[in-house]
């Protein structure tokens, strides 16, 4: 474009295509503020009537009210989220109940199997029965009753509503305690009525402690069968005793150790049968037990690895 066509060309702004963004970035203040200020400077203060004042005040109150309630409404949790949460909570409760029922059935069946096993074996070979009984104590396959030590760990109370993971009982604490108890000569251990075996894992998922994949809730009751007083003195000597003292003094975690005359430890979940053989010299059992799995096994079922 040249000036030959009449109207003089305005200097082309190089970033004309971005005028909108420029406007936004360079003129963030309402231009009306400046306009009104200029007008006031020229004509003096505007006359303000009482009606005008009242209107302004009312409008301001309304706007403030609307903004505050809008902000509050946005901060409130959405009902849909709450509903979903309730459904999931219900499902968790239902499934947990179902698992408990199945576990109970499992235990009953295991008891029946053990009873049948005992009767069948007793008729033929008594040393095998004794060995099986001893092995099932070690492997946690049978429930036990006896004197022992009960140690209860409970989370420290929150200070000022702040959840501090250090003041919670952690999987490491339970691991150290359980290992310490084994080292002190405990014959059998259960945590919150979950019997520990050679393959039991104590670990954490999120903030929950799992024993054999079963989530536990505090307080954590660790039952160990053995000579109560003896266990207690030996536990104090190993590093676990030191650890318990640290938990109590530094993190205010509740540690309660008491000797009990009679503790009842449940059987562990039944181990899988991986390998079974009829030992040499034992006549094959006919009749009643022939249909099932080879129950007359010399070695108790053990799960390996893990």
């Amino acid at each position: 474009m040249t000036s030959r066509h009449g109207d003089s060309p305005t200097a082309r702004v190089p970033d004309a295509s971005m005028s909108l963004l420029n406007d936004v970035a360079r003129m963030p203040l309402e231009p009306a503020y400046r306009t009104v200020a200029d007008q006031r400077a020229r004509e003096g203060r505007r006359r303000v009537t009482v009606r005008h004042q009242t209107m302004s005040a009312l409008l301001a109150v309304m706007l403030g009210l609307a903004t505050a309630s809008a902000a509050l409404a946005l901060r409130a949790p959405q009902p849909a989220v709450l509903a979903a949460r309730a459904i999931i909570e219900k499902q968790i409760a239902e499934r947990t109940a179902a698992v408990d029922t199945l576990r109970l059935q499992n235990a009953e069946t295991a008891q029946q199997i053990a009873a049948l096993q005992a009767t069948v074996l007793a008729a033929h070979d008594s040393p095998l029965v004794d060995q099986l009984a001893a092995d099932s104590v070690l492997s946690g396959a049978s429930a036990l009753t006896g004197p022992g030590l009960r140690i209860t760990l409970s989370d420290a109370p929150d200070v000022g509503g702040v959840v501090d993971p250090d003041r919670r009982v952690q999987d490491v604490d339970l691991q150290i305690l359980v290992n310490g108890l084994w080292a002190a000569g405990a014959e059998a251990i259960a945590v919150n009525d979950h019997r520990l075996t050679t393959t039991t894992a104590v670990r954490s998922a999120g903030s929950a402690i799992l024993v054999d994949l079963n989530p536990l809730v505090g307080p954590y009751v660790v039952d160990a069968i053995g000579d109560g007083a003896d266990l207690q003195t030996r536990l104090a000597r190993v590093s676990a005793g030191q650890h318990l003292a640290t938990l109590r003094t530094t993190y205010s975690i509740g540690v309660d150790v008491s000797a009990k005359n009679s503790l009842e430890l449940p059987a562990a979940s039944l181990p899988e049968l991986r390998d079974a053989r009829v030992p040499a010299g034992v006549p094959p059992i006919g009749g009643s037990a022939s249909a099932g799995s080879p129950t007359g096994s010399g070695s108790p079922p053990r799960t390996g690895g893990g």
Partner: protein, 110 residues
Amino acid sequence: MIAVLGLVIGVVAGLVFEPTVPVSLQPYLPIAVVAALDALFGGLRALLDGIFDDRVFLVSFLSNVVVAALIVFLGDQLGVGSQLSTGVVVVLGIRIFSNAAAIRRHLFKA
């Protein structure tokens, strides 16, 4: 100043009485609150510039909120609600940022 006073009274009343917002208005709340913030920052900057005016403040506040809600409504009707909301938030966000920077320069001279 009567506008600021009224606004404060309104906010306190809102916090105390916690009125419920009609469900039909819920989708417009986020943008409306951002628009209100923009108006607030604009007003604060004007105050520091010495050109604050009750009427301009209230009108800009009201029009900001209404226009923002209208844009969301229009976007929802046309099927571009979320994109339009993003655009509005970007523009208002830039304005809030520049105003906040100007306020900072006023207060700290830096």
